[in-house]
């Protein structure tokens, strides 16, 4: 079973990495979603795999439970990654509407930096 889970997580990750290396925003968003699946399940799996032992306490039974901590962490991680996906989707949508294409790379003229200040603007008395 462990082998199946690990291979599934690995496949998700590989698919995600391949997709984020594409050139269009939509593919990158899909890739990030895939990576999210991989990471979340991975974090969950660090509590080790246990079948049929949910972390819900029941009276008078001291039986073993599964590890609740990774579950709590992953639960918020799922919700937060939704928030992140939403922001990224809106950003790519905004870029597409504003710029007219959905390329992920920065256009060369956006990378121009302002020229450096030179020494000529030093105070007057220093030059005197």
């Amino acid at each position: 079973m462990e082998l199946l889970v690990a291979s599934g997580i690995g496949a998700c990750m590989a698919a995600g990495i391949y997709l984020i290396l594409r050139l269009r925003t939509f593919a990158v968003v899909l890739g990030m979603t895939m990576i999210t699946y991989a990471i979340n399940t991975f974090l969950f799996a660090t509590g080790r795999l246990v079948v049929n032992l949910p972390p819900i306490l029941h009276d008078g039974d001291a039986a073993a439970y599964t590890d609740p901590l990774p579950q709590a962490l992953v639960l918020t991680a799922i919700v937060i990654s939704f928030g992140m996906t939403a922001v990224v989707v809106m950003m790519s949508l905004g870029a597409f509407i504003e710029g007219g294409d959905d390329h992920i790379n920065m256009p060369p003229d956006d990378r121009e930096m302002p020229p450096l200040k030179t020494v000529n603007d030093q105070p007057e008395e220093e030059r005197a």
């Binding site: 889970v5 660090t46 905004g94």
Partner: protein, 946 residues
């Protein structure tokens, strides 16, 4: 008054100007002045105890685990500096009231000034070097704000930046030095460090610590070769120059050297580094000051020179020299602050600080002339003023050195000679000489408020000169004793007999007068001589490092995202591989779980969906369907492996995400074209496969091994019911054990939703708004936008889903469920309504503002957390009880439920706000509003018919 309170008072005072500035400048000045006065009185009340040789301390634990405690002390040295800081601060506050014009933001000025005053008091009162470092950095920051106060002046901004760069870097070095010092001494308390002289001086880390600490002190006190920032800091308003750059901040470095003098001083290393640096600084400062044209620049370089003098005295390492140093600190503060204020008055009244354009002000400004002359003569070291006394002592110490005596004697005399020259120049080139008719303003004496401060200081100059023992002897004794750690008694007198010092002094005065007479030819040769300009060098270095930074950034990131991401992936892979091959993971200890047929089918499905998703990712709609399959399998995976909460969350998030992506896809292109070469895709596939193998391998390695350390989960399982009152441990962790995290997370979610809203807002304005108005949809629209079946079904479902949401919310504490899941379920129920009947139609039928929902959620969670305070418990401690309602099973009411309600509201608000934003974009792009819930859009059909 407690030392801690004295250090705190200026910070309280910093709040007042902002509150009072609308009542006028005078009120703000009065408020700051009162606070300063109270602190000063509080400090002076300790004089009797300090004179008895006691050290007053106050200890407050702050971060005891790293030995950072708010420990304060008052001894002679703190008393001396504290009196200077608060006393001169008081005069400066009054002076600035009249100096600043009506257009200057006065409230801001006084706030910065008080912040600075507090930081300085913190330095001199700290009994913990880590605390001292905190205040040290605060002085750098507040002086940055003060120098750049006139932000419209480029000189001010550049000067501020230069000061911050130089003193900030020195501060960095000093942090390292102090760390070493504390490690050697085994304590960060100054009281303890002062007792460990042997340990520190015999340590092999002594020299590195000494150099690093001295770097901090030298940069702050503008010692050569870091002296260049001080003259540029003179772009600040004159009250700031007078306060920071003559009387207080630049003396912080001296203070530190004096404070650590007993443990660091007395070694040959100390002597050569400190005394030589001081000597060189003294000479260079004096020479440059003679040839400067700007009045404040003259004073700035003379300050550099005098700071060098004091540094040199401290460097001598003898007790007598320490006394002279302390005495000169007092004297320099009095005459130099008076001189700065005089320069400010001249600038204010005559309209210029350029000495070439001044002269002949004696008759026009008699009061200012008197003040300036006395102070300048004291600076020149003319008897019977106080500057003469300490300069004599300096020359005396130089002539009694055991090593390199002649060298120090000659250079010190030359420096004193130049000092006489520039001091007399201040008098003769500004005040005497023929009256001119081309001053920018009509010079006249200012009002009493402006000259009162400098006049008071000049009176002190004369009195200390005439009656040194009565006026200053006690303060010198107390502070010198604090420096050396032994009981000191200074012999201050005007006449010491005919000795070497007197002869050197006479040479200096005579030479200075001759030098001033020959000033014009000397100036010509000075100006024609080549010399390095510190600012040019500084700017070149800064520019070079900026360029280097840009070059490195450019090399790593050329704007190509795939390139940056593959770098990142490969680096992570490399780091992981390195860790794997150098570390030891231990044997496989966990047996594998058996694989049933159903999980195997699930695995096949997931792998198949993943593979096809990558293969078909260019057909975007299909890719969405496939990715949803992966998401569903993930949620089944969670169910199977005992995580019902996660399964519920995953499936509802999945629904919301897919809806969001679908809505976005409405605008985005529906297909991705092939733009990369086969070669490139193969390379990317290689990287991706490696990453997948690595990640999967890591996962497998973890899954087959037991925990290396005991997990804290056991505690949570054990105490979930006892402390949190809930049986669903995951939910109790979320709302109780780790409630702080959750609180942060819902806040982040809310911020994300607001960011989406803000993005939409900008899209709906300007260029993109016009684009949207003319948007051409690339696909035909459906005729029945709101199918009757869907509308009816969602109507029926809505109340049911709301009840399900409520149910999930209520049971969450004990059974799978909770605020997150309930919020998502309710959001989906609403979303379906919006999708079926159209956004505008549905929106008209409810009036919940989603922003408010997010805000209410965060507030509800916060208030629940704060509620615990009234129970005397820390933030977010929950209390609970059980409630039995008729006809319902017993359920539990915990305060955690209020927190969960916050989570719920926040999630609903965030999801709905994101949808709302997309729908607003759609409206802008011509989406029409339906009046009926299920109308049929005939426009498309008509288009089709034509």
């Amino acid at each position: 008054m407690s030392p801690a309170l004295i250090a705190l008072l200026p910070f309280i005072g910093a709040l007042l100007p902002g509150l009072l500035v609308r009542s006028g400048r005078s009120v703000a000045a009065m408020a700051c002045g009162t606070v300063t006065l109270v602190a000063l009185l509080g400090l002076l009340l300790h004089i009797p105890a300090v004179m008895r040789g006691e050290v007053i301390t106050a200890r407050i634990e702050w971060l005891p685990m790293i030995q950072l405690n708010a420990n304060f002390r008052i001894d002679g040295l703190s008393l001396l500096f504290g009196t200077l800081i608060l006393g001169i601060g008081l005069l400066i506050i009054a002076y600035a009231r009249f100096y600043l014009s009506r257009t200057d933001p006065v409230g801001k000025f006084y706030t910065y000034l008080m912040l600075f005053q507090g930081a300085m008091m913190g330095i001199v009162l700290s009994d913990n070097i880590l605390l001292l470092l905190v205040f040290w950095e605060l002085t750098s920051l507040s002086s940055f704000l003060l120098i750049g106060y006139w932000r419209h002046l480029p000189e001010g901004r550049q000067g501020a930046r230069m000061a911050l760069t130089v003193t900030g870097m020195g501060g960095m070095a000093m942090i390292a030095g102090m760390m070493i010092l504390g490690q050697i001494a085994g304590s960060y308390d100054i009281s303890d460090i002062l007792r460990s002289k042997e340990a520190i001086q015999s340590s092999e880390w002594y020299l590195p610590a000494l150099i690093l600490i001295l770097l901090g002190a030298f940069t702050k006190s503008a010692q050569f070769p870091f002296h260049f920032w001080l003259p540029h800091a003179m772009a600040a308003p004159t009250p700031v120059s007078a306060y920071l750059h003559s009387a207080t901040m630049v003396k912080a470095g001296l203070f530190l050297m004096a404070r650590l003098w007993p443990v660091l001083g007395g070694t040959p290393e100390w002597f050569w580094i400190v005394a030589t640096t001081g000597l060189v600084t003294m000479l260079i400062g004096a020479v440059i000051a003679l040839f400067k044209d700007d009045l404040k620049a003259v004073l700035a370089f003379s300050t550099v020179s005098h700071l060098g003098l004091i540094t040199m005295l401290l460097g001598f390492g003898t007790r007598e020299a320490a006394i002279a140093a302390v005495f000169h600190i007092i004297n320099h503060a009095t005459f130099k602050a008076a001189l700065f204020m005089t320069a400010g008055i001249v600038d204010h009244e005559a309209g210029t600080r350029s000495i070439r354009r001044l002269g002949g002000l004696r008759k026009l400004m008699p009061v200012t002339f008197a003040i300036g002359t006395v102070a300048a003569l004291s600076m020149a070291g003319i008897p019977p003023l106080n500057g003469f006394l300490s300069k004599e002592m300096m020359l005396y110490e130089a002539s009694h050195l055991e090593t390199a005596r002649l060298f120090f004697m000659v250079v010190a005399t030359v420096a004193a000679l130049f000092s006489v020259g520039y001091s007399l120049r201040f008098v003769f080139h500004v005040f005497t000489g023929p009256e001119r008719d081309d001053y920018p303003h009509h010079p006249h004496d200012p009002g009493f408020g402006m000259w009162a401060g400098p006049a008071l200081l000049t009176v002190l100059v004369v009195l200390i000169g005439l009656f040194p023992n009565t006026m200053a002897g006690w303060l010198v004794d107390a502070s010198a004793s604090a420096v050396t750690g032994e009981s000191e008694h200074a012999h201050l007198a005007l006449w010491h007999g005919l000795n070497a010092a007197l002869i050197m002094s006479l040479i200096a005065i005579a030479g200075g007068i001759i030098l001033l007479r020959r000033h014009e030819p000397a100036l010509k040769s000075w100006e024609s001589a080549p010399r390095p300009e510190a600012k040019v060098i500084f700017d070149t270095i800064v520019q070079a490092s900026v360029l280097a930074g840009r070059w490195i950034t450019d090399k790593f990131n050329n704007g190509s995202m795939p390139r940056a991401l593959s770098f990142f992936t490969l680096t992570s892979l490399f780091a992981g591989a390195l860790a794997w091959y150098t570390g030891d993971a231990g044997p496989l200890t966990r047996p594998m779980l058996p694989v049933g047929p159903v999980p195997f089918i699930g695995w096949l499905l997931a792998m198949f969906a993943t593979g096809s998703m990558v293969f078909f990712h260019r057909v975007r709609l299909l890719a969405l369907v496939l990715i949803a399959i992966v998401g569903l399998i993930t949620s089944i995976f969670f169910t199977y492996f005992s995580a019902p909460d996660l399964a519920l969350t995953q499936i509802s998030v999945e629904v919301v995400t897919v809806i969001l992506l679908l809505l976005a896809l409405n605008f985005l292109p529906k297909r991705t074209l092939i733009e990369t070469s086969t070669h490139r895709r193969g390379w990317d596939a290689c990287i991706a496969t490696l990453a997948g193998l690595g990640f999967g391998g890591l996962c497998y390695a973890i899954l087959r091994r037991d925990f290396a350390f005991d997990s804290i989960s056991g505690y949570m399982l054990e105490n979930s019911h006892k402390l949190g009152g809930g049986d669903n441990v995951v939910n109790v962790i979320l709302v109780d054990f780790r409630g702080y995290d959750t609180f942060g997370e819902i806040t982040v979610l809310g911020i994300a939703a607001l960011a989406i809203f803000a993005l939409t807002q900008t899209l709906l304005q300007g260029k993109s708004s016009a684009r949207l108005k003319n948007w051409v949809h690339d696909q035909r629209r459906a005729g029945d936008r709101h199918p009757m079946m869907l509308v009816i079904a969602t109507r029926v479902i809505l109340p049911i889903s709301l009840v399900v949401g409520l149910f999930i919310f209520l049971r969450g504490h004990n059974q799978p469920g909770g605020g997150f899941i309930a919020g998502l379920v309710v959001a989906i129920a609403l979303l379906m309504q919006y999708m079926a009947s159209g956004y505008a139609w549905a929106q008209d039928r409810q009036n919940i503002p989603f922003h408010a929902l997010i805000g209410a959620g965060v507030v509800a969670a916060g208030v629940t957390g704060i509620g615990a305070w009234f129970n005397g418990k820390p933030f977010l401690t929950s209390a609970y009880g059980y409630v039995k309602l008729p006809f319902l099973e017993e359920f539990e009411l915990a305060t955690a439920m209020g927190f969960d309600l916050g989570v719920f509201l926040c999630v609903v608000g965030a999801v709905m706000l994101a949808l709302n934003s997309l729908s607003r974009i759609a409206r802008q792009a011509g989406e029409t509003v339906n009046e009926k819930p299920m109308d049929i859009d005939l426009s498309e059909e008509q288009k089709g018919a034509h």
